[in-house]
């Protein structure tokens, strides 16, 4: 570090931030790689169906497609809210 370096404005050491952000996004995108293009649309349509019965957020639904020796497994998981409140009460009294 020379004397004149004090006069130069130094940037923030942000490479660590870049590395962590990339690790996460690259891993996420790799897990979706090779999945059929219809998955996102199917996910939102499934959400519509589930919403009819239970209040859930789109974040609560995860769809994974796994390849396992010769066959594919479509795994759908829905995290139900604690109260399990019905979305619409079709059997409302009155």
């Amino acid at each position: 570090m020379g004397i004149l370096d004090f006069l130069k404005r130094k940037g923030e050491p942000t490479a660590n931030v870049a590395r962590e952000r990339l690790r996460i996004i690259v891993a996420q995108e790799r897990s979706n790689r090779g999945a059929p293009d219809y998955l996102p649309m199917m996910r939102s349509e499934l959400l519509e169906v589930i919403k009819k019965y239970v209040h859930v957020d789109i974040e609560a639904i995860s769809i994974k497609l796994e390849q396992d020796s010769g066959h594919e497994i479509l795994e759908l998981s829905v995290a139900l809210p604690d109260g399990k409140a019905p979305a619409k009460s079709d059997t409302a009294a009155g």
Binding site: P13, I25, V26, R33, G34
Partner: protein
């Protein structure tokens, strides 16, 4: 003997694909190989400028694909290396000017003419031109900058190389992937401002075939229309020479990835 097809690709634009294609093709020619370098960026021809042959383009890649000119008429012989030829991109705006069959025919023609290597300079993006540039490849040089969007895009490209190429479709030996890190600034890496070689290798899960330091000589070379590898005094030129040697199977240690040691005056006055 069939020609080895090398695609130079990246996903993101502006990372150094054309600079790399020009230097890689020139380096292979300097090693005694017969080389053709093809610009796949239909509508945005630029390889001719970097190779310094822009005023000698008569027929282009699309002309050959459409049978309007022969390969022999369209290949532009390099001024410095007699075994190096350039096939320019067409300036047509027709995105469908290239077809898979047409590209295959040109590559087969080059093999028959005794070419050892065909370097395919891919356009940016993942559209048709980029797909055709990588489809027939035996090797891929994925150019990446130590920067978030470039790293993410190159991961996408590595995925496409593993699934959307002829080798992948036929279940043959996969396309050999070479990661080339360009515009590397060791000083900024040292103070934590830039992703390091190791960071990029770890994120992408593949080791680099070369690291090209950020260098003023790259702009000078493009200004002059002389591939930077010809400038053997420049660090970027030397780093490209090392890279070409490694692609040809030679083992060479990475250079120019650490901050150069400073002399006394530099230590006192900085810089």
């Amino acid at each position: 003997m069939t020609a080895e097809i090398i695609v130079v690709t990246s996903g993101k634009g502006g990372v150094g694909k054309t600079t790399t294609s020009a230097s890689l093709a020139t380096g292979l020619a300097m090693a005694g190989k017969k080389v053709a370098v093809i610009d796949f960026d239909v509508g945005l021809r630029n390889l001719d400028l970097i190779m310094g042959c822009e005023r000698r383009v008569v027929y282009d890649f699309v002309n050959v694909v459409h049978g309007e000119a022969t390969l022999k008429q369209s290949l532009i012989k390099d001024k410095r290396h007699e075994n190096l030829f350039v096939l320019a991109a067409s300036q047509t705006r027709d995105k469908d000017a290239l077809t898979q069959e047409g590209v295959e025919k040109v590559l087969e023609g080059l093999s028959e003419d005794g070419f050892d290597y065909v370097v395919c300079d891919s356009p940016a993006g993942i559209e048709k031109g980029a797909h055709l540039a990588m489809y027939f490849a035996d090797h891929a040089v994925v150019v990446v900058n130590p920067e978030v969007s470039s790293v993410r895009d190159s991961d996408r490209i590595l995925g496409l190389l593993a699934s959307k190429t002829r080798r992948a479709e036929r279940g043959e030996k996969p396309v050999t992937q070479h990661l080339l890190l360009t515009r590397y600034n060791p000083a900024r890496v040292a103070i934590g401002e830039m992703l390091s070689v190791k960071d990029v290798e770890e994120i992408l899960g593949i080791s680099v075939v070369g690291v090209i330091p950020e260098s003023e000589n790259v702009l000078t070379a493009s200004n002059n229309g002389i591939p930077v590898i010809v400038d053997s005094n420049s660090l970027a030129g030397q780093a490209y020479s090392d890279t070409v040697a490694r692609i040809l199977g030679e083992e060479r240690p990475l250079r120019f990835i650490d901050v150069p040691k400073k002399g006394f005056l530099q230590r006192v006055f900085g810089g």
